[in-house]
């Protein structure tokens, strides 16, 4: 039996329910911690775990359309909770477990979630947050709580028992399935409202490229709250009867071990993990005796020549046997996404015969917009539009480069409760991505930087400069603001993105040692990937609108005109 035909389903809940019934005895989830395997569930056992949870939710008054947030690391209970919510007709709000407790509370309030499924250490942090008392949660289910833990008003996730079967609540394709925050917090959280149609269409478009069947295994590393893992590590494998492997630790050595132990078929990574894998391999190559190294280099060159037009996995596995063995020997695709990937990094893996697929996408489009087909390998592009995706380049310049706009049944219906942001982003049915690109003669998309004021880190995190400004509130200057350096000095590149602090000192003042030290101290309070790289001093008042908001585009243009990038002082 092949993949489910998703065209006949109205909702994720209905599709997943059929999937569980279709492959009852196949393994769907494996949970490993370091070298131990913690649990293994079949589709039948998954259903047996989810149904009592769904009944508990329904007994607590959880109605169709109600929202339930999940804050968990990648693990089976994440997917079980999500299925119980979909089964009950609810909306899943996946939150990034790496956010702070204050940010979690802010997004819980913004999403109007009534239910929360959360891991114990994260719940403990939330209850200790000063704003905890104001939360509106009706039911909180805490996983893995120690026996004598004080859970405040919450209940244990593992404790639910139900004496009746839950009721399946059908939804329509146009109904909201998830609210996914594509970026942080700050003034305007971007909660992408994604419908059942968005997910069913996306899954239907991408599954033929990366087909799952019983026996396929996906190693889940990217956080499940991220659109990539939600699709690749939940909806796609489940609707195809595959298995998902969760690791309780993201240490690189255990990721490497998981490849061989579980003979992984697919894995999605962000560029940072790919770089780490590359470093590990390079160290191994460097440690080889000179003779062996020469043979390896020859084999790599031979493999490169043989796979120029398309991957030849069988051949590569023979030529570079040891390397492929280190990846488990059954890897069919390594997908890299979440952030721009340097062509040379991709080439490294392609030359080894590891089928590495890049693409381009965003949460607003429910993950993938384009995917590379490797026929031939074109690492300088991000591939062709996925099925059903239309791409338009808005006001292209002489080189054909302009803002990328996309239209598809996978595009979100808007940002939750942010009509202005939605109107800027969805224009006449087209999603304005804010990225600059060009479609080449072969129909492949190439990216050339961003039009919008934001950066994406190698970990796949979108950072909007406005969101970190409050960290610097109160520093001894007349005014300040933060920009993406490439927004001020546009560059035709997606790499090496940095954040820049613009300081307008008080009249007659300069940036002295004390101010520098204070900026460094504040910077240190931010998570490492949110930090600014440097500052510049600007000697004019910031342009502001009638509401006294900084006119950022005007200011960035002025700075770009009068100051060079070299004026940036590193921190």
């Amino acid at each position: 039996m092949g993949m489910l035909d998703l065209t006949k389903y109205e909702s994720l809940g209905a599709a997943l329910r059929d999937a569980l019934a279709r492959w009852p005895d196949e393994v769907c989830l494996i949970e490993a911690d370091r070298e131990r395997e913690k649990s293994r569930l079949t589709y039948r056992q998954f259903q047996e775990a989810a149904e009592p949870l769904a009944a508990t939710l329904q007994d607590s008054g959880f109605a169709a359309g109600d929202r339930a947030a999940i804050i968990m690391t990648n693990q089976p209970k994440w997917l079980i909770s999500a299925y119980a919510v979909f089964f009950s007709g609810g909306v899943v709000v996946p939150l990034d477990y790496k956010l702070s407790a204050a940010e979690h509370l802010q997004l819980l309030a913004h999403s109007k979630a009534q239910v929360l499924c959360v891991e114990y250490p994260l719940w403990r942090a939330i209850t200790q947050s000063p704003s905890f008392q104001e939360h509106q949660l009706r039911k909180v289910l805490v996983t893995e709580a120690p026996p004598n833990a004080d859970l405040a008003s919450a209940q244990r996730w593992e404790d639910f028992h139900a004496d009746r079967a839950p009721e399946f609540r059908p939804r329509l394709r146009i109904d909201m399935a998830c609210i996914v925050y594509s970026s942080g917090t700050g003034g305007h959280p971007r909660g992408c409202v994604l419908t059942h149609e968005n997910y069913l269409e996306q899954c239907g478009a991408v599954s033929p490229v990366f087909p799952f069947c019983p026996g396929s295994r996906y190693l889940s590393i990217i956080p499940t709250n991220h659109a990539i893992d939600f699709m690749g590590g939940f909806i796609m494998p489940f609707t195809g009867g595959g298995a998902v492997i969760h690791l309780r630790t993201l240490r690189p050595e255990f990721i490497r071990e998981a490849f061989t132990r579980y003979k992984v078929t697919y894995m999605a990574v962000v560029p940072l993990i790919l770089k780490n894998l590359q470093r590990g391999l390079k160290e191994r190559f460097a440690a080889l005796p000179a003779g062996k190294r020469r043979v390896l280099d020859l084999l790599i060159a031979l493999n490169r020549a043989c796979t120029k037009q398309q991957p030849r996995l069988g051949l590569s596995r023979i030529l570079l046997k040891d390397i492929h063995k280190a990846f488990g020997g059954e890897l069919r695709a390594l997908l890299v996404g979440g952030a721009f990937t340097e062509p040379t990094l991709m080439e490294f893996f392609h030359d080894l015969g590891i089928p590495i697929y890049n693409g381009y996408g965003c949460t607003e489009a429910c993950t993938a917009i384009t995917l590379n087909d490797l026929k031939p390998f074109r690492p300088e592009t991000v591939g062709r539009p996925v099925r059903g995706m239309e791409i338009r380049i808005i006001t292209p310049d002489a080189d054909g480069v302009g803002e990328v706009a996309v239209r598809s049944k996978t595009v979100m219906s808007g940002y939750l409760d942010e009509p202005e942001l939605t109107a800027e982003t969805l224009v006449d049915g087209w999603l304005m991505t804010g990225d600059l690109g060009r479609v080449n003669a072969e129909g492949h998309l190439q990216l050339f930087g961003r039009k919008k004021n934001m950066i994406v880190t190698a970990e796949g995190k979108n950072i909007y400069p406005e969101d970190i400004e409050n960290t610097y509130e109160g520093i001894a200057v007349k005014e300040f603001c933060i920009f993406a350096a490439n927004y001020v000095w546009p560059q035709r590149t997606m790499t090496g993105e940095q954040l820049l602090l613009v300081i307008r000192p008080e009249p007659g003042h300069v940036v002295d040692y004390a101010l520098r030290a204070e900026i460094s101290r504040r910077n240190g309070l931010l998570l490492n990937y949110k930090r600014i790289s440097g500052y510049i001093v600007w000697d004019q008042d910031f342009p502001r609108n009638a509401a006294m908001k900084i006119r950022r585009a005007v200011l960035a243009e002025e700075i770009g005109k009068h100051l060079d990038r070299s004026a940036m002082v590193s921190l």
């Binding site: 690391t73 790496k98 250490p121």
Partner: protein, 80 residues
């Protein structure tokens, strides 16, 4: 039982060895991302070295948001 000073000292020595930098250049208050020029995955690699050395297990979330050696030392100390 080790004192927090001993734990910190051992962490600094292991970090210096692992990332091949002079021990004298590292201090407890240093931001290890900045000082060692490492990314979050390399920080996790260091953590495994430390776990093996101290014979403890630290879940990844315990070091979430930690970027200086002294906080790292106190997290390890609390599990010794």
């Amino acid at each position: 039982m080790k004192t927090i000073e001993q734990t910190t000292e051992e962490i600094l020595t292991l970090a210096a060895t692992h990332f091949k930098v002079p021990r004298a250049g590292l201090q407890a208050s240093d931001d290890f991302y900045k000082k060692l020029g490492i990314d979050s995955l390399q920080a996790l690699e260091l953590l495994t070295r430390l776990e093996n050395h101290f014979g403890v297990e630290l879940p990844d979330y315990e070091v979430q948001g930690v970027s200086d050696f002294s906080t790292l030392a106190s997290r390890i100390q609390s599990r010794l």
